[in-house]
Amino acid sequence: MDYTAFIRPEYVLMLLFAGALITYFAGKYSSMARYSLSLLFSGLALLMVALLYGKNTLSVWTPSITPNGISMYVGTNPLTWFFAIILASLSFLTIMYSIPIMKGKRMENWFYTLTLLLMGSMLGVVFSSDLLSFFIFWEMMTLSSYLLVTLAGKRSDKAALNYMILSTMGAYSMLTGITMLYVHFGTTEFSLLSAQIPGTPVNFLWLSLGLVAVGFLVKSAALPFYVWAAPAYSEAPDGFTPLFSGALSKLGAYGLFLFMYVIVGMSALIGMGSFRGVSSFGYAIALLGSITAFIATLYAIREDDIKRLLAYSSVSQVGYILMGLGIGTSLSVAGSLYHALNHALFKTVLFMGAGAIIQLTGTRKMSEMGGLATRMPITFLTMLISIFSLAAIPMTSGFGSKWLIYEAAINKGFVFIAPLAFVASVGSFLYSFRLLQAVFLGQLPDGLKDAKDPSLLVTIPMIALTSITVLFAIVPGVPLGAIASAESYMGIQPIQVDSLFYFRIGNSFGAYNALVVMTILLFAMLVAMIMFAFAGSKSKKVDQHDTYLSGEIYEHHSDLGLHYAANFYRPIERMFEPYLRLRLERTYDAFGRGYELLSEGIRRVYSGDVQTYVYYVIGFLGMLIILAGWWW
């Protein structure tokens, strides 16, 4: 008897929302109850999501909220399952990770409730299969993530408000697009909608899809809207950042997948105008993605604050996902989905590690850290592998996905996107190495003598995620199987996966057998280790600090920025310096201040003097009379 028959997506959602409420009230009494309950609920939800594999369910939830009775649908399919499993697992692991990190912090009880609520609304966004419930869960997700960011206290006020304003603006433009679709087609259910799409006029499609895409581009921090991303990711409480940048940023991509391929469908997309075999709408998104990747890398290189560096890096990695998504061939969509999975894995580990390090050293400045490799071996090892995957060193899963995206771009001969992506990936190597060198290598500053690995609750999630990354690196076929079924659901020709043994990854013009290459690589690593062990005695300890103070006595604690990691890539920065000055933040701030000034002026209309109000009334009447006389 199939036990999993009774599991349906809406039970997962109800479980999580009820769990959030229970955890809040239980948490008021004992913190133990709070931790165990939140772990229990998120673990249960993760289990239920996992058991939903391969199910195509669609269930109606009747309490409709609009006058002509639109009912709300919740269902699962391969694409949603792929994203749901990422979101669920990340949430579960982040909750486990955040227990030691968030202990004793401000409003801790609210943290777990809001995380469960966020998990519920994220899964709600993914599971909903009609426009209205999609929008409702989207708004709930924005609200709960805003509240979570504000938990970090006074520092995060400005970042949280900017984040809320921009994402609400995106949500409202999405609402306009959704209402256009609903009013034009009369229905909100995705399958009914996509059935009616083929015949519709093209410019209507462009307008509504464009408006909806704005909402998703804001969430995935694409070019014009990436302003909120770095401050929001870095100012959020350390317990929340892995979930925020690891899982939440994927929802923008999911939305685009949903609307471009599931609702509008590939044929109608091409019908909207194509550019060298790729839909021009998709090409625009790909372009935006690659430019974001490039610019975000530039910012990441200059960052000295560990969390802001990782924040900019996740903005640029999401740019890759958008690029793959935009191109729209079977290879690029597979690459983008695979990269979404990998990015979720390694970015979460990096942020967890960063959280642990910040809790340990008390500072976020990389120039004040160093040499932690010896003291924190497990964190070092897990972050090392994730950094390799981030930098797309060959044979890591990160490499696999980026390689697929590049193949697709080159195959289509995009002379502008592909080189931009290459330079960006070089940049990603640079800042990941900076992270590695500044935090782990070099000598241990005297203040950090007693550094040791964080508690078990932190290391287990990191180890789990890194082992999955390594597993996918060796056996790429497993994730690609899920991706292939998602692609076929989206109506795109799925990527071939060797059913026999899951090691080959590739397509018509090139493939590599991951297992063979991995063994060679391990063997090479072994040789290098041996050589290093023998020659180790000759290696000289290099001091972390430059000492060109021409004779001055130099005490370590002075912050002259002499630490190697302080301005690691100064030469490169100098190259881009002039262009980086025109940052986009300035335009947003200018707009904000401009509107404040404007409303200051508008406020002056109410001058407080009765006579001016009488003038307004009589003037209004005079205007009406002139209109009445001449126009009516």
Partner: protein, 112 residues
């Protein structure tokens, strides 16, 4: 015809007082002038050439009677006018108690 002129003039002079005179009591005077103007307008609407007062006593025939409905409306409006004026003036007395001035320019604490 000249009644319309008188009514329109009264309304105009009422608004003139309201807009250009700073003194609050002058404004209330303007309001009450405007009220009389509106009443005059209503009554002159109801007038019929050669009609008599709408009281059907001692042989007055219904055909030659002026339209009574506007007169009923004006009756109501006169009383409304006086009650609003009385309330406005008592509020002005209290304003004077606090602000010590009747000049509407000075009574502007709540602005923007």
């Amino acid at each position: 015809m000249i009644y319309y002129m008188a009514a329109a003039f009264l309304i105009a002079i009422g608004i003139y007082a309201l807009m250009l005179k700073k003194n609050m009591i002058k404004m209330v005077i303007g309001l009450s002038l405007m009220d009389s103007g509106v009443n005059l307008l209503l009554i002159s609407l109801g007038y019929i050439n050669g009609g008599t007062a709408p009281i059907l006593l001692n042989g007055v025939k219904p055909q030659e009677v002026v339209d009574p409905l506007p007169q009923a409306l004006v009756l109501t409006n006169v009383v409304i006018g006086v009650s609003v004026t009385a309330l406005a003036l008592s509020v002005i007395i209290r304003v004077y108690k606090h602000y010590k001035t009747l000049n509407s320019d000075k009574v502007r604490d709540m602005k923007w």
